[in-house]
């Protein structure tokens, strides 16, 4: 790869900090791109150094998704904002059954942000992109004054291609469909919460942040009749199930006893007064498929390393009120409502 120009000093990636000049469009920005982004993301499209990337897509329908990442803290057990910004968008594309192909990356950096941290983030993004089989083909960098950002924000947009015969959508779910969950709930949210100010508690829980493209590929290859897939991120499983119930005009019943939750996660939720159903995940998916295919799909998921703990957690019902309900371990039944905002810890 060739540099645009020779810079008098190499970027100080050990002790340097982001300066306003790094977003100014001048030489400093070119150097940041050359010595950091191009180094890490290296691919033929980016190296053309155009303001856009030009590529041909394989046949099929094109799928596109975008996601902005503002997570705090930027580094957390199991990941960081860089890997998360790839996983989040890759998963949004993949949930349509598509193969994710290309990403864009937009950075909003705060003046004074350590370049060493930025490098860690960018390298982590590069690894995550490679693992997910996607190329980061175009990008943008802006710098905001100190105090006007939170270190680093990243927007990514992804493009993928879905086979013509696949048609997965939130409005295609049918009464009688079974609901499958790919693994344990709440790992990401609890890992983040354990680091929040005033709430440091010791836990070995790591975020589940991961790309699900390969699990999805295995699932749609064997069971093309899946009606819908979603990754239950913010708002947790509860928000996802309510979204689907609304879009498809159906009811949902889940069984608490079938829902996998790690012991540590359920313990943390217990003392924080939170419900794991509402806690965020970044590497899990929910799939809705016809009942006669559910066992086959479950077997495929469990065979895949990212779906080892998959379970059939419930089914879709005909319900004009579009309620999501849960049969509790206790033998009762309750609503799983769509809450309006983030859960707040209860006083007692």
């Amino acid at each position: 790869m060739t540099k645009r120009t020779e810079y008098s000093h190499a970027l100080d990636l050990q002790n340097g900090r982001v300066e306003m000049a790094h977003g100014s469009g001048g030489k400093a920005m070119a150097q940041l791109i050359d010595e950091l982004f191009l180094q890490a993301f290296s691919n033929p499209w980016l190296e053309q150094m155009n303001d856009q990337a030009c590529f041909t897509l394989p046949s099929g329908r094109v799928v596109m998704a975008t996601d902005s990442h503002v997570i705090s803290p930027l580094f957390f057990p199991g990941g960081d904002i860089g890997s998360l910004s790839v996983h989040g968008t890759v998963n949004d594309v993949a949930m349509s059954g598509a193969v994710p192909k290309y990403l864009s990356a937009g950075f909003i950096l705060e003046e004074g942000f350590p370049l060493a941290d930025l490098q860690r983030i960018v390298q982590s993004m590069a690894r995550a992109a490679e693992d997910a089989g996607v190329a980061i083909v175009t990008g943008d960098t802006k710098v905001v004054e100190r105090g006007k950002g939170d270190g680093c924000f990243i927007n990514t947009t992804g493009i993928g291609v879905v086979a013509e015969q696949l048609n997965l959508s939130g409005n295609r779910v049918q009464p009688g469909d079974k609901i499958l969950l790919s693994g344990t709930l709440g790992d990401h949210g609890v890992a983040i919460m354990s680091l929040r100010e005033g709430l440091t508690f010791d836990t070995s829980i790591e975020s589940d942040s991961q790309s699900l493209h390969d699990l999805v590929a295995a699932m749609v290859a064997e069971v093309p009749g899946i009606n819908c897939m979603r990754d239950p991120t913010r708002g947790g499983l509860a928000a996802t199930l309510n979204e689907i119930a609304q879009s498809s005009g159906v009811g949902v019943t889940i069984y608490e006893a079938n829902i996998p939750v790690k012991l540590q996660v359920s313990a943390a939720c217990e003392f924080l007064g939170l419900d794991p159903l509402y806690v965020a995940n970044e590497g899990k998916l929910v799939a809705f498929c016809p009942a006669d295919k559910a066992e086959q799909l479950l077997a495929i998921m469990r065979k895949h390393p990212k779906g080892k703990e998959a379970a059939i957690i419930g089914e879709v019902t005909a319900d004009p009120l579009k309620f999501v309900q849960m049969e509790t371990v206790f033998g009762g039944r309750r609503m799983v409502d769509w809450i309006s905002a983030e859960q707040l810890p209860r006083i007692c």
């Binding site: 005033g198 709430l199 006893a257 012991l263 359920s266 313990a267 217990e270 924080l272 419900d275 319900d319 009120l321 309620f323 309900q325 049969e327 509790t328 371990v329 206790f330 033998g331 009762g332 039944r333 309750r334 609503m335 409502d337 809450i339 309006s340 905002a341 707040l344 810890p345 209860r346 006083i347 007692c348």
Partner: protein
């Protein structure tokens, strides 16, 4: 999870539910009030109403500290943050509660006030140490469970010689609220409320013990069973109450014997007594002014009393006139009797106290129990 799952065992639950069905006399109703919001939450979260026969009614009492805090006290807290520029520290579930003109602590924060969510009053003390040039106020709410930590933090502040820390005290007393319900016209001369017994508080009782409830059993002939917050605790307590009613007994029984004694926690009671004194009267949302029902900081600790430290004035504020939370907290009406419920009043936009926290009867009913309405509608169709 050890020591938790044992109390959520579905098989045991079905066995106790079966005993309840066998022992509850079909010829009568059993109206039982769980006082605590924690119990209300557990009842709905685990779907306990599904396990009870139709003639065993759970009535949801006023034991949710967030719900019963009057709007004007919340307004004062917001005023401390906005007008007096303090760092105001609050427990999480207080943050979204709307005060006057629907202004909450979260909205005040969005407007620039320095409001921090803390998980413990010790965090507020730490903030005061870390910000010596700022006034830090801890917005203290809660029943007897959260009072001892507040007392300790005041003692700690004195020990550390902190000059920038104070407490806005809103601690309230459980026995006074139970007395207020039993003395209310609804339960007395109006005869609207036929209350057959109480599920007594869990965590509150670990502090105050079971002894303070004895007068309700003696003077009002109401059975009380103190129960833990786990669903099996609740079912067992309901069974024990039904047995007392059937036997014509009115006693204080303790289902939560793994944590509650008759005397309670002497050390905690002592530190509370050293730090606080009883207010002549305190306003409760839904119950009105209740004499001797809340605590204030003793004059010896006035320097840590935000009400003394800042010129704040108490103004009573009006509730929505259609709101039925008063009768609901008194057990005379159910959330579904209220015209505002689920329409104008929802957890996103609560009008009345019972909707503001997930422990409130209306919020718990809305979030966890709305499917019951559709079942009832189907039966009636």
């Amino acid at each position: 999870m050890k020591y938790v799952d044992e109390y959520r065992d579905g098989k045991l639950a079905r066995e106790i539910a079966e005993r309840i069905r066998t022992e509850a006399l079909p010829s009568r109703l059993y109206n039982l009030m769980e006082f605590c919001g924690g119990h209300t939450h557990a009842i709905f979260r685990y779907g306990i109403p599904d396990l009870l026969p139709d003639n065993v009614n759970m009535i949801h009492g006023p034991g949710c500290p967030v719900c019963v805090l009057p709007i004007s006290r919340l307004d004062t807290a917001i005023e401390l943050a906005v007008t007096h520029g303090v760092i105001l520290c609050s427990y999480g579930d207080m943050m979204r509660v709307p005060g006057s003109r629907k202004r909450s602590l979260l909205k005040a924060r969005a407007e620039g006030a320095d409001v921090r969510m803390v998980y413990s009053c010790m965090d507020a003390l730490k903030l005061a140490q870390d910000n010596p040039d700022r006034e830090v106020v801890f917005f203290a709410i809660g029943f007897e469970t959260t009072t001892p930590p507040t007392a300790l933090v005041i003692h700690q502040a004195r020990k550390l010689g902190l000059k920038n820390f104070s407490v806005f005290c809103n601690h309230v007393l459980t026995p006074a609220a139970i007395g207020s319900i039993l003395d209310s016209p609804e339960a007395g001369e109006l005869g609207l409320l036929k209350l057959d017994g109480f599920v007594g508080p869990a965590h509150v009782s670990t502090v105050i013990g079971s002894q303070p409830y004895e007068r309700f059993a003696e003077e009002y002939s109401k059975p009380i069973v103190i129960a833990g917050f786990e669903p099996l605790d609740l079912l067992q307590a309901i069974l024990m109450l039904i047995r007392q009613v059937n036997d014509g007994r009115a006693e204080v029984e303790n289902e939560f014997s793994r944590a509650v004694t008759r005397q309670g926690n002497e050390r905690a009671k002592q530190v509370v007594d050293e730090t606080f004194e009883v207010r002549e009267s305190f306003e409760w949302r839904g119950l009105g002014f209740v004499p001797l029902s809340a605590l204030q900081i003793r004059p010896e600790f006035a320097e840590f009393d935000a009400e003394k430290r800042f010129p704040v004035e108490y103004r009573s504020s009006a509730e929505n006139s259609a709101c039925e939370c008063g009768p609901i907290l008194h057990g005379v009406k159910s959330p579904r009797d209220c015209t505002l419920f689920g329409a104008a009043c929802t957890p996103e936009s609560p009008l009345g106290p019972c909707m503001v926290s997930s422990e409130g009867a209306c919020a718990a009913y809305y979030s966890y129990g709305r499917h019951q309405d559709s079942l009832i509608a189907k039966e009636n169709a």
